[in-house]
């Protein structure tokens, strides 16, 4: 089972029940669970959406869209049924926070889904987990069964006249399905390719009905917003960035793990203090601040607050708050190659700039890293990546291109060091790679 970590600077809101046996409903109730859903049932949709807006909660999947605003886009009247869809297809390299939520606090996901349903007038919610999370899906399914047995789900939730049902669903291996329109396609039993927008899911979504799609962490945060009050939640974070964030810290640090830190917490301090600094006393070389799709930052660029606005100002993105720490023994060309290999593997192939772009980037980087590159390859990589951006249905093309552009721009010398038949300067035993 994944190791839980702790640090005095943490503010435990979403993770406060981790390691406390709250996957069992009785324990969850002892720890204050389901009180928020009951309160929302009494207060009604407008109050809920007002609280969510006032909380400054923004989507934890990566885009950071304000959750209350998203919910308010769903039409009040609809001929077709409305749905809540929880995105638990956690797949962005570096990100492993939802993993812990499903493991330790599945009822928070259920309770948040109920609240979202009450807010938009949906009677059915779906919780979609990536296929690799089978063990976690079983935990979720057991929790859903417990909630039905208590009458918290069903045709009269909490003894009221309101109906809310939950269906759990397994994926079968596809990063692309984490994109909201591809997620709906996948849940409808199709290949996970994106839909063109508009219409947006809030108007035409799952099975053609208005649908709210939220990341699992966002949904698990919702009951806490209600419980502590929107103002207190907002105050826990930074301006326009309410609350805390589950930060997945991985790579070359002494104490990797998932830490819950206030929005706006300093990135440098996160690495040096919370995660114990670079492993083995090595020097910091680079930081990927928000999952593999976010542009890399240099050591001199990380003295910033980790919220959506401040990281954007530094030229990158908070994304899924997956901080990947890279030390000075790492070859950035290999790191860029490994990053693009992921996107090449995961491109669904629907849009040609992404399908062909990721493939040619991988081929060119493979050749360059192996010492067979030509000087013009470096400019070609940049040119190709820049021309993928904004030319695809979904953000996967951008997700592959943005970090690539940043790797070349910030580590050009290292790319050049691989030219003229030189083996990788970082490899202990350079291997001849046939391209």
């Amino acid at each position: 089972m994944p190791r839980l970590v702790s640090h005095p600077d943490e503010v435990k809101i979403v993770s406060r029940r981790f390691g406390m046996g709250a996957a069992r409903i009785d324990r969850y109730l002892e720890l204050g669970g389901y009180a928020a859903a009951k309160k929302c049932l009494e207060q009604g949709p407008e109050w809920i959406i007002g609280e969510m807006k006032a909380s400054n909660l923004r989507g934890r999947g990566g885009a950071g869209f304000p959750t209350g605003l998203k919910w308010s886009f769903v039409p009040k009247q609809s001929d077709k049924p409305k749905y809540v869809l929880v995105n638990g297809d956690e797949s962005e390299p570096g990100t492993c926070k939802d993993h812990l939520i499903f493991q330790h606090d599945p009822h928070a996901v259920i309770e948040g889904t109920i609240i979202a349903g009450l807010a938009i007038g949906a009677k059915l919610g779906f919780i979609y987990l990536r296929g690799e999370y089978r063990g976690l899906l079983e935990i979720m399914e057991k929790a859903v069964a417990e909630a039905y047995a208590k009458g918290f789900l069903g045709s009269h939730i909490f003894g009221s006249n309101a109906e809310f049902q939950i269906i759990t669903h397994t994926g079968a291996g596809a990063y692309e399905v984490g994109e909201e329109s591809a997620l709906m396609e996948s849940l409808e039993g199709k290949r996970g390719i994106p839909r063109i927008k508009p219409p947006f899911p809030a108007v035409v979504g799952l099975y053609g009905g208005p649908t709210v799609i939220n990341n699992a962490e966002t949904i698990a945060t919702v009951p806490h917003v209600i419980e502590m009050g929107a103002a207190a939640f907002a105050a826990a974070g930074s301006p326009r960035n309410g609350g805390t964030r589950l930060v997945s810290i991985s790579g070359h640090v002494e104490r990797p793990g998932v830490y819950e830190l206030p929005m706006g917490y300093n990135l440098k301090k996160m690495i040096d203090t919370v995660a114990g600094g670079v492993r083995g006393g090595h020097k910091l070389k680079a930081v990927v601040p928000g999952g593999s799709s976010t542009p890399v930052l240099l050591p001199e660029e990380i003295d910033i607050g980790m919220d959506f606005d401040q990281v954007a100002k530094a030229g990158s993105m908070l994304g899924s708050a997956a901080v990947i720490v890279i030390d000075d023994r790492t070859c950035m060309v290999e790191f860029a190659l490994r990053t693009i290999s992921f996107y090449q593997h995961e491109s669904c192939g629907w849009c040609i700039p992404c399908r062909e772009g990721t493939d040619w980037l991988k081929k060119t980087l493979t050749r360059l890293h192996a010492g067979f590159g030509e000087a013009k390859d470096i400019d070609n990589i940049q040119y190709l990546a820049e021309n993928m951006m904004g030319r695809t249905f979904c953000p996967l093309g951008d997700a592959a291109a943005m970090p690539t552009v940043a790797f070349v721009k910030k580590f050009r010398k290292e790319f050049e060091a691989h030219l003229n038949g030189n083996p990788c300067p970082f490899a202990e035993h350079p291997k001849l790679v046939v391209v």
């Binding site: 962005e92 409808e188 039993g189 991985s250 990797p256």
Partner: protein, 171 residues
């Protein structure tokens, strides 16, 4: 036609698939879970499995193949009883995933995509499995193993050899 008489699947799986067929607002939504659960029992998506699942969701065989070919966990060819999946994405790479993978290659005598002659193990490099803070991580079927080192590889394989049906645990 009686489904039970025709089914390839165990009664337990057949019953599970029956429940899946009525679980969703649209039957087709059950397709991917049905394929995955069927694969868990049969080992891979054989022609017969695809035909039966197609009949259960009311799609053509071609439509089912179209979907199945999209998802990386769905396999059209047999793999090992225990699928060793070594994550080599960035976070795991930084913590030594390549060395772990090479040790599995050596211990199993396989390359990526290979299956041992006894059919017990297959070996794959996979993309991010969502265990980045506990890297390097692997999955054997659905079991996660975190913070794996090359030194742990032989022991991990032994633990599955002992679990395999028909094998008595070592005295």
């Amino acid at each position: 036609m009686s489904k039970e008489a025709m089914s390839l699947f165990s009664p337990r799986l057949a019953e599970r698939l029956d429940r899946l067929a009525t679980k969703y607002p649209a039957k087709r939504s059950a397709l991917v879970p049905m394929l995955l659960y069927a694969q868990d029992e049969i080992g891979y998506l054989s022609d017969a499995v695809i035909n039966e699942v197609a009949a259960r969701v009311g799609l053509s065989e071609l439509e089912v193949r179209d979907v199945a070919s999209y998802y990386s966990m769905l396999h059209l060819k047999p793999l090992g009883k225990y699928k060793v999946q070594v994550c080599t994405s960035i976070s795991c790479m930084l913590r030594g995933a390549d060395e772990v993978y090479e040790e599995f290659e050596k211990e199993l005598g396989l390359e990526a995509g290979g299956v041992t002659p006894d059919g017990l193990f297959s070996l794959e490099k996979v993309e991010c499995i969502g265990a980045c803070a506990w890297a390097p991580a692997i999955q054997v079927n659905y079991d996660f193993q975190e913070e794996v080192t090359p030194a742990l590889v032989a022991g991990i394989l032994d633990s599955y050899r002992e679990k395999a049906p028909g094998k008595e645990p070592h005295a």
